[in-house]
């Protein structure tokens, strides 16, 4: 129903969309035929896992192949490297061209955090599609049983986990969260930030020589190793959600996206017993990691205008609202204020979820890992060091200095 005169001229155009198996993808898929009907542009959608998507995009773009027009890209991860490589088509000119972007699009509606997250060097390289951040899902019934209240600070969080673990005789784990090295920074980041630390200080030096960093590591390791499930070092969202959904864990500190998994009666035994809170503040305040996914256009695309048309459609306020109703945390503020959307949040768990997510969006720190080009390497390295503490082969002190030293190497 939107104005799409330019598109009418592009009949028989096919654009290739490379997407991940992700809630957003699953949510938007059913609407794509609408888009195709409206515009006559055919969308060829290829869905892969996160790593496969990254491999494929790297290879395709490296070969300067036009095989990808639009793809889902995680700016906090590969953004810098891809930007430097010139893989992204800068989007400012599309946004600023009224012929390509009508006013209804309402750019200003995007929340600042996610939107600036899509900018590198002050150039817009993508449009955000979903916001997420780690929140704590918890079992209201268990908290009640053991007489625990929602933790107000990090120490209480640990205390709560400890109580559950001990009182249930280890039948129920206190906390299920990430232990897989590559995945740790996402959850660990908030621990660090809540201690009042960024990944690096203002001069660009890693912050792991600070005692607060050691404290953060120690806290994370204690929480996961003592009050978490065995084998946590391999865990990421699959395992955590499975444990929580089977009622084996009282808390799950995971991406806000997991809500749909654990509230789906198909997957979960604990539906109706779930509450959500944001990770409590530490001495340095409350700075959970915030993460946005965005869609970008390949610099080598041969159908850039059609690609932009798709992006514009997918991120339009109307579409965003439709997706939000399916549980996609929208980067547009208007969606959150939308009455129809609010109606879908009637369930208490969803309200709590929205509230927690709000905290994430408001206070969130967009750096999932240290802001370096070698993002993956740095994250893996941090995770590996923390795992050593979890496994008991190193102290927090040793891990911190290892991270510090290796980060310095990576920075070289």
């Amino acid at each position: 129903g939107q104005s799409n005169q330019p598109a009418q001229t592009k009949k028989d155009v096919t654009i290739n969309l490379l997407a991940q198996n992700h809630p957003w993808t699953n949510a938007i898929q059913p609407f794509i035929p609408d888009f195709e009907k409206q515009t006559g542009i055919k969308v060829n959608m290829q869905i892969l896992t996160e790593q496969q998507t990254r491999d494929k995009s790297l290879m395709t773009l490296q070969a300067k192949s036009p095989d990808i027009d639009v793809w889902m890209s995680l700016k906090s991860f590969e953004g810098l490297a891809y930007y430097k490589a010139g893989f992204y088509e800068p989007l400012d000119k599309y946004l600023n061209d009224p012929k390509l972007t009508p006013k209804e699009y309402n750019v200003a509606d995007f929340m600042k955090g996610p939107f600036t997250g899509e900018k590198i060097d002050n150039k817009l390289v993508g449009i955000p599609i979903i916001v997420e951040g780690p929140v704590v899902f918890y079992r209201k019934d268990v908290f009640q049983q053991y007489n625990i209240s929602v933790p107000k600070n990090m120490d209480e969080l640990l205390e709560a986990a400890k109580t559950i673990q001990e009182k249930s005789n280890g039948e129920i784990y206190g906390m299920a969260t990430r232990g897989l090295p590559q995945a740790i920074p996402y959850t660990f980041g908030a621990f660090l930030h809540n201690m009042g630390l960024e990944w690096m200080d203002a001069s660009g030096k890693p912050n792991f020589d600070k005692p607060e960093a050691i404290k953060a590591i120690d806290m994370y390791a204690t929480l996961t190793s003592k009050y978490g499930p065995p084998g946590v070092v391999n865990n990421t969202f699959y395992q955590s959600s499975a444990l929580f959904a089977q009622g084996k864990a009282a808390m799950e500190y995971e991406s806000s996206n997991e809500l749909s998994t654990i509230t789906n009666p198909q997957n979960s035994r604990v539906v109706g017993k779930i509450g959500v809170f944001s990770l409590p503040p530490g001495p340095g305040g409350n700075h959970p990691t915030v993460l946005q996914w965005g869609v970008s256009i390949s610099a080598f695309s041969k159908n850039k205008e059609a690609a932009w048309e798709f992006i514009r459609w997918a991120t339009s306020p109307e579409m965003q609202r439709k997706l939000a109703e399916k549980g996609i945390a929208s980067p547009r503020s208007s969606v959150w204020d939308n009455a129809e959307f609010k109606k879908t949040l009637e369930e208490p768990v969803k309200q709590e979820w929205a509230a927690a997510l709000r905290i994430v969006m408001d206070n969130g720190n967009p750096e999932v890992g240290p802001p370096v080009t070698k993002q993956a390497e740095a994250r893996k390295m941090i995770g590996t060091a923390i795992d050593k503490v979890i496994l008991g082969t190193a102290t927090a002190q040793e891990a911190a200095s290892e991270i510090q030293q290796k980060l310095l190497e990576v920075l070289k």
């Binding site: 290739n16 991940q20 198996n21 992700h22 809630p23 993808t25 699953n26 060829n44 959608m45 290829q46 869905i47 892969l48 896992t49 996160e50 496969q52 491999d55 494929k56 290879m59 395709t60 490296q62 070969a63 300067k64 192949s65 095989d67 969202f237 699959y238 959600s241 499975a242 959904a245 089977q246 084996k248 991406s255 996206n257 997991e258 749909s260 998994t261 789906n264 009666p265 198909q266 997957n267 979960s268 035994r269």
Partner: protein, 273 residues
């Protein structure tokens, strides 16, 4: 075979089935469970079976298309591997050209990712990836890199087993080397062909790395689909298991069929001494 042997054999079958097929059965059972039951603890054997995973699978994915793609790629590369590999294996076995055998194996020795970028570069330069037909050809060629050395090496030892007397006999009967190859060596190495077909088909069928990057949406084979169940937000265990079950079926059927050729004692009665 004597009675005692039968009993002993079946006893071993039984234990092996438990060990080797147990996990597979678990997978198949899981494909009939809801995700909730799949991760249930303690694990449950008896449950309300559901075909949801399967029906959803067929609802979401154009399975027929993917199966056809898989057949084109795995079948094509197996066939190509046979056409290129069987004569080569014969020559290698009979003329002792071991260095060539070794050379062809290099393509199997190299890590698959080593090929990815260069091939992709070529494919995109030649604009292959956009064209379905060329894309199939490209996929068949790349998969033949997996099947060819497998077939060559498997076949070498079968050809070596054939008594040379038979080929000499054919020489005397006026056969050329090619005819000997086709009419004597080939029929007598049927068990080898069967093993080659089974294994190279399975390898090609299950190989996803090349297709992941080289295939486009309409030439994508079935196995790549399996990945679609693993993802951020939720892993659809039931769907994955159902897909894995379905993916395995054609290869299983092929195996059942091809092992008819695994005939024992083909050369019995041929020579004395």
């Amino acid at each position: 075979m004597r009675k005692k042997d039968y009993i002993l054999t079946y006893l071993q079958y039984f234990i092996l089935i438990l060990l080797f097929i147990g996990p597979v059965l678990w997978m198949i059972l899981s494909s009939l469970k809801s995700n909730l039951d799949i991760t249930a603890y303690p694990p449950i054997l008896f449950f309300q079976p559901t075909f949801n995973n399967y029906t959803e699978l067929f609802k979401i994915y154009p399975f027929a298309k993917y199966i056809i793609n898989s057949f084109i790629i795995a079948g094509g590369s197996t066939l190509l591997g046979l056409i290129l590999g069987v004569p080569a294996a014969y020559a290698i076995a009979r003329y002792r050209l071991h260095s060539i055998a070794f050379f062809t194996l290099i393509s199997r020795m190299a890590p698959g990712v080593l090929f990815l970028i260069p091939w992709y570069l070529i494919a995109s330069k030649l604009e292959i990836t956009g064209n379905n037909f060329l894309d199939y050809i490209m996929l068949i060629l790349t998969h033949a890199v997996i099947t060819l050395p497998l077939i060559i090496w498997l076949m070498i030892s079968y050809f070596e087993e054939i008594p040379i007397d038979l080929e000499e006999s054919a020489l005397i009967d006026g056969c050329g080397r090619w005819r000997i190859f086709f009419q004597i060596a080939l029929p007598l190495s049927l068990p080898g062909i069967a093993v080659s077909v089974i294994l190279s088909f399975i390898f090609s069928w299950n190989y996803f790395l090349f297709a992941l990057t080289l295939a486009n949406n309409s030439t994508m084979p079935l196995t790549v689909i399996a990945f679609n169940f693993i993802g951020e937000g939720a892993t659809n265990w039931g769907g994955l298991m159902a897909a894995a079950t379905i993916i395995s079926l054609p290869a299983l059927l092929l195996t059942l069929f091809a092992q008819r050729l695994l005939i024992k004692g083909l050369t019995a009665g041929a020579v004395k001494g």
